[in-house]
């Protein structure tokens, strides 16, 4: 096979964005930037058979062929280990409060119902969860726990107790336990912020962007919008946060497909660490495949806003555009993905274990309890098997080593099949990656960011 047809087939993907031509090799994750001449050659638009450009294409093709073989060998080894080796738990989502002071429409915590289980987690359950994390994390040094809900600040005393207990236990086991707290911010005050700073906790603050967008989705118990109160609280929290370990995160729906405006709102409100996520729902504001052209264009718009701020010397960070190529994850991690069901588990207030926060309350996915440990290891195994090498769709995807196989919860919700990723999720993931790669190219040293 000649170089051009090799580089045009298989898991290679090429695209141009903001005048930058990119070629990605899905199987190895390698990325190249092509000039217009080599691009045209690859595209079959020009023939320059004797030129350097063709020789260079041939050189990267042969490099890629060799790498592909190496990756296939080592990848198969990892996959075997991943499926059959011991599992080690690494992180927990602690649903410390199945209750909330807001009634956000899209909350997978179930608009107040929480899959039937309401209430607050006792410190007994929380401590048993931490014990389990210590025991099941084996040789892993760095463990994580996120206080989640509902609204975790409704159970603040237990949060505090669990942080000190967790630190004690981690010290005993010779591990590091990093805590984060995901909150709507309303109940934050000086005492809580001081504790969060003292304990170096990460803070995830929920706000959707513009007032009208936020208020439509995030009303309080009385049905009134929460935006102004939330914004004031979150500003205060960020101002007082002693380190950079915080994010403001929002959700976009089909009602705000112009979500660059929401990111702009947050940037202009003074926030520099921003994450915005597509909604997962089957309600009327769900994202549909027919929304894709709009969504894709919107990510380009967001990318160009991101670049504009960089150019003006007023950069911000957007979670899905962050891309540290020099120190990116190893192949093993890229196979593993989110680790739901084996490396990552969610704990309900009464101590039931689920593959991740999205499954909490679904009886069929109850994998054990904090007191009995893992009772259905076969369920975790099913999640372990669902890695990129075992999913046909992922095996042929150019984004496989950056995406790692997508969201299991989404695949099950949309297709009823753990092995079949949700197409909409894939397309969004791919678009974000396209933008992230080009942003990386344009913001690396010496690059001129085009106006």
């Amino acid at each position: 096979m000649n170089a051009i047809s090799y580089l045009s087939g298989g898991t290679f993907h090429r695209y141009s964005l903001f005048g930058i031509n990119i070629l990605v090799h899905g199987k190895t994750g390698a990325i190249w930037q092509l000039d217009d001449l080599s691009w045209k050659l690859l595209d079959g638009q020009s023939a320059e058979p004797e030129g350097d450009a063709l020789a260079e294409l041939a050189a990267i093709a042969s490099e890629a062929r060799q790498a592909e073989e190496r990756f296939a060998k080592q990848g198969a080894l990892y996959a075997e280990n991943l499926e059959e080796g011991p599992t080690h738990l690494k992180s927990l989502c602690l649903n410390v409060a199945h209750d909330c002071n807001l009634r956000c429409k899209y909350c997978f915590a179930g608009k107040g119902a929480f899959g039937g289980e309401r209430g607050l987690m006792s410190s007994e359950v929380g401590k048993a969860a931490i014990d389990l994390l210590m025991q099941l994390s084996g040789p892993r040094q760095n463990c994580e726990a996120d206080f989640f809900g509902g609204e975790p600040l409704l159970n603040w005393n237990v949060v505090k107790e669990l942080v000190s207990y967790g630190k004690e236990q981690a010290a005993e086991y010779g591990k590091q336990l990093q805590f984060t707290l995901t909150t709507n911010g309303l109940l934050l005050d000086d005492e809580k912020l001081a504790f969060i700073n003292e304990e170096n906790m990460g803070l995830i603050l929920s706000i959707d962007g513009r007032p009208e967008v936020h208020d439509r989705m995030r009303p309080d118990l009385g049905g009134s919008g929460s935006h102004s109160r939330v914004l004031a609280k979150i500003k205060e929290a960020v101002a007082k946060k002693a380190d950079d370990n915080w994010w403001v995160r929002g959700t976009y729906t089909s009602w705000n497909l112009d979500f660059t405006q929401d990111v702009k709102f947050l940037v202009e409100a003074g926030f520099s660490n921003i994450s915005l996520e597509p909604v997962v729902t089957d309600e009327e504001y769900q994202l549909r495949e027919e929304d894709l052209p709009k969504i894709e264009r919107e990510y380009e718009r967001l990318a160009s806003y991101y670049l504009q701020r960089q150019r003006e010397g007023k950069p911000f960070s957007f979670f899905h555009f962050n891309f540290d190529l020099a120190k990116g994850p190893c192949l093993a991690k890229r196979l593993l993905g989110c680790g739901a069901g084996h490396a990552y588990l969610a704990v309900s207030p009464r101590g039931d274990l689920y593959p991740c926060h999205q499954f909490v309350g679904q009886e069929a996915y109850r994998i054990g309890t904090v007191f009995q440990g893992i009772e259905k290891p076969e369920l975790g195994d099913r999640f372990r098997q669902a890695h990129i090498f075992n999913k046909e769709k992922c095996r042929s995807c150019w984004a496989q080593l950056y995406c790692s196989g997508g969201c299991h919860a989404n695949a099950l919700a949309k297709n009823g099949d753990l092995m079949l990723p949700d197409e909409l999720g894939c397309r969004i993931q791919q678009k974000r990656l396209e933008c992230a790669i080009v942003i990386h190219v344009l913001t690396s040293a010496h690059a001129q960011i085009p106006a």
Partner: protein, 48 residues
């Protein structure tokens, strides 16, 4: 030295670990995203 093509990234790191990676990097869906998984932006925790 190529004139027309620039390598931006060599691809995933093939770790020398025979086991399944060291598992010390951050969990992907934790914290900031919580609804979708991206590992492209998860840093490796190993010291060089």
């Amino acid at each position: 030295m190529m004139k027309h093509i620039k390598r931006i990234d060599a691809g995933a790191i093939l770790s020398s670990d025979k086991q399944i990676g060291c598992g010390e990097c951050q969990a992907s869906c934790q914290s900031a995203c919580k609804t979708s998984c991206t590992v492209g932006n998860q840093n490796c925790q190993k010291e060089e």
